[in-house]
């Protein structure tokens, strides 16, 4: 084999690898080119049929915890504020098109809507939160909580999302409510949110 042939072979191999992997993060029609990878697959045609990074079953989220009895606890103000999903839905809703960008190396961009985190901080009576600890209903697991910084709370697209692509979130995507913040690693967009602690330090 000639040197040119060897180079072409290695180059061709690298190109083939690029074709069958890049779709995981480019999305759109290229996603299907990631034939042999988990994030190249379809989940269906519905509004909630996009890539999941951890199922509700795997996170041991029980249906009783996410039903009508679910409450969001906002702490950090003079008194804790407890709201149900109906109250959240009645608040001003904001829509943002944002990606879940997973540290595994894939991403998917969807249209989320819900309540701005800044509005929730105001509701909790914390004027200028320096950070916020978001905790999930998920009891175990390294990513059942995340800390957001001041700029991540105040960003106008930083949401506690209640709906995606025009419908309620599915259980696997974090129903009743999940965090979605621009430029945040996927695992820090906490799902099944139970409480948010706004801190002014």
């Amino acid at each position: 084999m000639s040197r040119r042939g060897a180079l072409a072979l290695v180059g061709g191999g690298a190109l083939l690898m690029a074709v069958v992997t890049a779709g995981q993060t480019l999305g759109g029609f290229t996603r299907h080119a990631a034939l042999l990878l988990p994030r190249g697959r379809d989940h269906g045609d519905g509004p909630n049929d996009f890539q999941i990074n951890r199922t509700a079953a795997a996170a041991a989220i029980i249906p009783e915890g996410t039903g009508d009895s679910w409450r969001l606890r906002l702490r950090g103000g003079p008194v804790p504020v407890v709201v149900d999903r109906k109250t959240l839905m009645a608040m001003p809703q904001h829509t943002a098109r944002l990606p879940i960008a997973c540290v595994e190396g894939w991403s998917t961009t969807e249209t989320w809507s819900g309540v701005r985190l800044a509005d929730l901080a105001r509701l909790a009576a914390v004027a200028q939160p320096r950070s916020a600890l978001v905790a999930s209903l998920e009891r175990y697991g390294a990513f059942n909580h995340a800390v957001l910084q001041a700029n991540q709370i105040s960003n106008s697209d930083a949401l506690l999302a209640l709906r995606v692509n025009g419908v309620d979130l599915s259980r696997d995507h974090g129903y009743p409510a999940r965090i979605i913040v621009p430029a945040l690693p996927g695992v820090h967009n906490t799902k099944w949110v139970a409480s948010i602690d706004f801190r002014d330090h």
């Binding site: 072979l9 061709g12 191999g13 083939l16 690898m17 069958v20 034939l35 042999l36 990878l37 988990p38 994030r39 697959r41 989940h43 890539q51 999941i52 990074n53 951890r54 199922t55 079953a57 795997a58 696997d172």
Partner: protein
């Protein structure tokens, strides 16, 4: 400028691009040395999950198993072509690379995506995606079939073109020049 380049080539012995490539290579190697300490090659909890063990095992497996297998397969591919050539004495379009390339591409896919194809870590996969690894074996086989089929079509086109070319060459070959002199 050209004289300067010539002087430089006399001194260094090669094109400036050669030096730039070498420097980039050394810088990359240096960077790897700074982040790659021997400690990271060894997993004290589970010894067989160490990079060092896998690296050594990969060398042994390649040289002892993979290399003889693909060298033998390649040898088997080249024998019939040689035999045919010696029997019929006419130049053939060699099929060798039309088999080698899809085989290598299929092998690369199998090597890289083997865990999914043979369904390793099914519980983790289910927890992370809500799906099973069921389609991957079939997809890999289909991909392999498609690559070989494409290669076969390209080979057929190549043969047809070669035939066409040799035939037209035969037809346009001038007949024996006639002697026109008195």
């Amino acid at each position: 400028m050209r004289a300067l380049l010539a002087r430089y080539k006399d001194l260094y012995g090669s094109h400036p691009l050669h030096l730039l490539t070498m420097l980039a290579g050394f810088a990359l190697a240096g960077y790897i040395l700074t982040i790659f300490t021997p400690v990271e090659l060894w997993n004290p909890q589970v010894w067989w999950q160490s990079i060092a063990v896998w690296f050594a095992a990969a060398i042994v497996f390649h040289d002892l198993v993979l290399f003889p297998v693909y060298a033998l397969a390649d040898r088997l591919l080249t024998i019939p072509a040689e035999r045919r050539r010696s029997c019929r004495g006419e130049p053939l379009v060699p099929a060798l690379n039309y088999i080698r390339i899809p085989a290598l591409a299929s092998g690369l896919m199998l090597l890289v995506f083997l865990p999914g194809i043979i369904k390793q870590g099914a519980p983790t996969y289910l927890a992370a995606t809500g799906q099973t690894q069921q389609p991957f074996l079939g997809r890999w086989l289909l991909l392999t079939a498609a690559m070989f089929a494409t290669s076969a079509v390209l080979y057929a086109i190549r043969i047809a073109l070669t035939h066409h070319r040799t035939r037209t060459r035969h037809r346009t070959r001038p007949t024996r020049p006639t002697d026109t002199s008195p």
